[in-house]
């Protein structure tokens, strides 16, 4: 038994916002009330903290199998729970690619043996994510995938995309797209604009993303599939999503903390500022903040993309795209969204809980109620701390937020009734 005492329970589903105690028995919440006391229960004092349903990260790279030098399911989920996440969706661009049920099963087994958080695999849309043949999505679904994506690249060709969407509609899976137009992308390394011109770095226009999203929404309308835009970074892409929602299409999107915090003006030759999609303009960031507030954006997702330090310690052009993000997500959301008065606290919680749950179509929604699954995220709105990449639980160090001071802080993480991490 676990008693979480005196926390401020914030649950967007029941619209709860009150100081309450939670008694957890086994994997489920047994009792909710004021001043609950039970002899023999382990007590977690949450005075001054927010107690929310367990946070879900729709988008991460755990690098296992195949790139364990950068991350493993164990180290990745260790970082995830330190960041307050109780469940993470693992993108399929591992080696081998998660494009068949046996790879999916091996990930599920490795997670059962070593993961701190729930690991929900995402299956590839096409074999090898090569954009040629349709992957065996049905078999992967049996094995446990929660969505389909060729992340790292878009699903190539409208015809294949249509087949993937038709298949996923029948199987009731969302199609998650990394939106990019290859010919406009053309070897770019950062967003095209005044900053890329000054640095002499090859620019990628925002339209590389928005053109692809526009195409995809058309195919989503044609097929009726659930379509989700990953790591949305540009105003025009967001407008495509807004328009699709207005039409009543099942179209959703996620935004990363680095895209709602930084802009291309922050980019230096330091490869920790190199990610795909690249950091957008100030106007794009403003659009993302508006979308996060008004409901156009469904979820905050980290796109946690670990890369071994040596691979990032190179010229900007040669460095791989991607940044780690689990441990700084809550801090950035609380500081840049809540304290900056861009979103309310219940909305912030929604973006990490019911928002992603809805994208995935989870049968058991994230909520705090008697008999609900005891996946909980405890965090503070005012706990001063400094992120040090060298102290990260991840195997990688590629964060643009190394040394940054935060007020928002994950404090403890509960998965299936067990405290899997608490701030020392």
């Amino acid at each position: 038994m676990l008693l979480i005492k005196n926390g401020r329970v914030v649950d967007p589903v029941s619209r709860t916002d009150a100081v309450l105690d939670l008694l957890i028995e086994g994997e489920r919440i047994a009792r909710i009330g004021e001043k609950t006391s039970t002899a023999g229960a382990e007590i977690l004092d949450a005075t001054g903290w927010i107690v929310a349903p367990g946070f879900i990260d729709l988008h991460c790279h755990l690098r296992e199998p195949g790139q364990e030098i950068s991350e493993t399911i164990e180290t990745g989920t260790r970082a995830a729970v330190r960041g307050g996440f109780t469940a993470v969706c693992a993108m399929p661009n591992t080696q081998p690619v998660n494009d068949n049920a046996s790879v999916t099963r091996s990930i599920v087994e490795r997670a059962a043996a070593s993961a701190r958080a729930r690991v929900w695999p995402i299956g590839a849309a096409s074999v090898g994510s090569k954009g040629e043949a349709l992957a065996e999505i049905g078999a992967m679904r049996e094995a446990g995938i929660v969505a389909v994506s060729d992340d790292g690249r878009p699903i190539a060709g409208a015809r294949l995309l249509r087949q993937v969407m038709e298949q996923c509609r029948a199987l009731d899976l969302p199609v998650i797209e990394h939106c990019e137009d290859a010919s406009l992308f053309a070897g770019g390394v950062m967003r095209e604009g005044p900053r890329s011109a000054r640095l002499g770095l090859r620019g990628i226009p925002a339209e590389s993303e928005s053109i692809c999203a526009g195409r995809d929404v058309e195919i989503a309308a044609l097929t009726g599939a659930r379509y989700h835009v990953a790591h949305l970074s540009a105003r025009r892409t967001l407008e495509h999503v807004r328009e699709a929602k207005r039409r009543g299409l099942p179209v959703t999107c996620e935004v990363t903390p680095h895209h709602f915090t930084l802009t291309d003006e922050d980019v230096t030759y330091d490869a920790r500022f190199k990610m795909n999609p690249p950091l957008g303009s100030r106007d794009d960031r403003e659009a993302l903040l508006e979308g996060l507030a008004d409901g156009t954006v469904d979820a905050i997702a980290t796109d946690h993309a670990p890369h071994h330090p040596a691979s990032k310690e190179v010229e900007f052009d040669r460095a791989p795209f991607g940044v780690i993000g689990f441990e700084t997500a809550i801090g950035l959301a609380v500081d840049e969204l809540f304290h900056a008065k861009r979103v309310t606290l219940p909305r912030l919680v929604e973006l990490f809980t019911t928002g992603p749950a809805r994208v995935l179509g989870l049968r058991e929604n994230r909520r705090i109620a008697v008999d609900a699954l005891a996946d909980l995220t405890l965090f503070s709105l005012d706990y001063p701390w400094t992120f040090r990449a060298e102290e990260s639980a991840s195997r990688s160090r590629n964060s643009p937020f190394d040394g940054r001071k935060f007020r928002g802080a994950p404090m403890a993480t509960v998965v299936a009734g067990r405290v899997v991490w608490r701030r020392p």
Partner: protein, 319 residues
């Protein structure tokens, strides 16, 4: 204001005083190139590593000669036939060079930001001899020296730069330098090589795709090399480029009668520049090369030689 600096990574990171100081320091070295015996002992015992990760002839020879005439030794690393082909990283290569104890490293690399990347990780001064499309500061300094010699001053000229601006480190460094002195800069070239954001590089930069308009009243014309090796880029056919952008004697007449023509070299005669212009009285291409030596000697002397607390002779900024 400190006139001395540790690294030369780009014009953007120099102060205007430092630029003028370097130009003034170059004067005696211009004279020196006419001496029958071109050897000083100033930097005797010093070693300069020349790390050229990208093919270069004139810049490499210019730096090597500048070092030799100051009495320094140079050690040359060239990408051709090097361990780069064995997969060694830039960082490992320059650290290996550093372990041979040079006193400074001159770096040419195809990646923008390479010089800054290396400077942040080595203990010795780094001189940028061209990093990708970012900067080529010694080229801008030698161009400035040439302009000041020919036109008497650096201030307030109408500068026209023609060619592939987007991929040109020469253009970026020249824009950074000349805009400091109140020059109005007109960029001209195919629109795909001259995106609107280039105007944000400095105050007083404008673009035009029409060469006749760009040359109207020009005092200084900088013709960039068409990088024919950039084959994966969509580009104009040579015939189309010649038709629209070649600097011909007729077009040159739209500029000021005293206008001068610069080219960073190597020239594609008959492509970006008509031979009659390249060899004509307004052309400065030969003295640019000699001035390059003077500027690089002044620079090496500044970085390696001058005592730490004395800025040396001739610091009275003219103009």
């Amino acid at each position: 204001m400190a006139l001395r600096f540790r690294h030369l990574l780009g014009i953007e990171s120099l102060t205007t005083e430092q630029i003028l100081f370097l130009l003034d320091q170059s004067k005696p070295f211009q004279e020196f190139q006419r001496y029958p015996l071109k050897k000083l002992a100033t930097l005797r015992g010093k070693t300069v590593a020349l790390a050229f990760f990208e093919p270069s002839t004139r810049t490499r020879i210019s730096f090597a000669t500048a070092a030799a005439r100051l009495g320094a030794d140079s050690m040359l690393f060239q990408a051709e036939g090097s361990s780069l082909k064995k997969g060694e990283s830039l960082l490992d290569t320059v650290r290996t060079l550093e372990a041979m104890m040079p006193d400074a490293i001159v770096l040419r690399h195809s990646a923008s930001g390479a010089a800054e990347f290396v400077a942040a990780r080595l203990e010795i001064p780094v001189i940028n001899a061209g990093d990708g499309a970012h900067e080529h500061p010694t080229q801008a300094l030698l161009d400035a020296l040439t302009i000041r010699d020919r036109k008497g001053m650096l201030e307030n000229w109408n500068i026209t730069i023609i060619g592939d601006i987007l991929h040109s480190r020469v253009a970026r460094s020249n824009i950074q330098l000349l805009s400091r002195f109140g020059c109005r800069i007109t960029l001209c070239g195919p629109p795909m090589w001259m995106p609107p954001e280039m105007e944000s590089l400095a105050h007083g930069v404008r673009r035009t795709a029409r060469i006749e308009e760009a040359l109207e009243g020009a005092d200084v014309i900088i013709t960039l090399r068409v990088q024919t090796e950039r084959q994966h880029e969509p580009s104009l056919s040579p015939e189309e480029y010649i038709l629209l952008y070649q600097l011909t004697p007729e077009r040159l007449r739209r500029g000021h009668p005293d206008a001068i023509v610069l080219h960073p070299g190597p020239m594609n005669r008959g492509l970006e520049i008509d031979p009659a212009v390249a060899d004509g009285p307004q052309s400065c291409v030969i003295e640019q090369v000699t001035n390059g030596l003077a500027v690089r000697m002044a620079l090496l002397f500044q970085v390696l030689g001058a005592p730490a607390d004395s800025p040396g002779e001739g610091t009275n900024a003219s103009d």
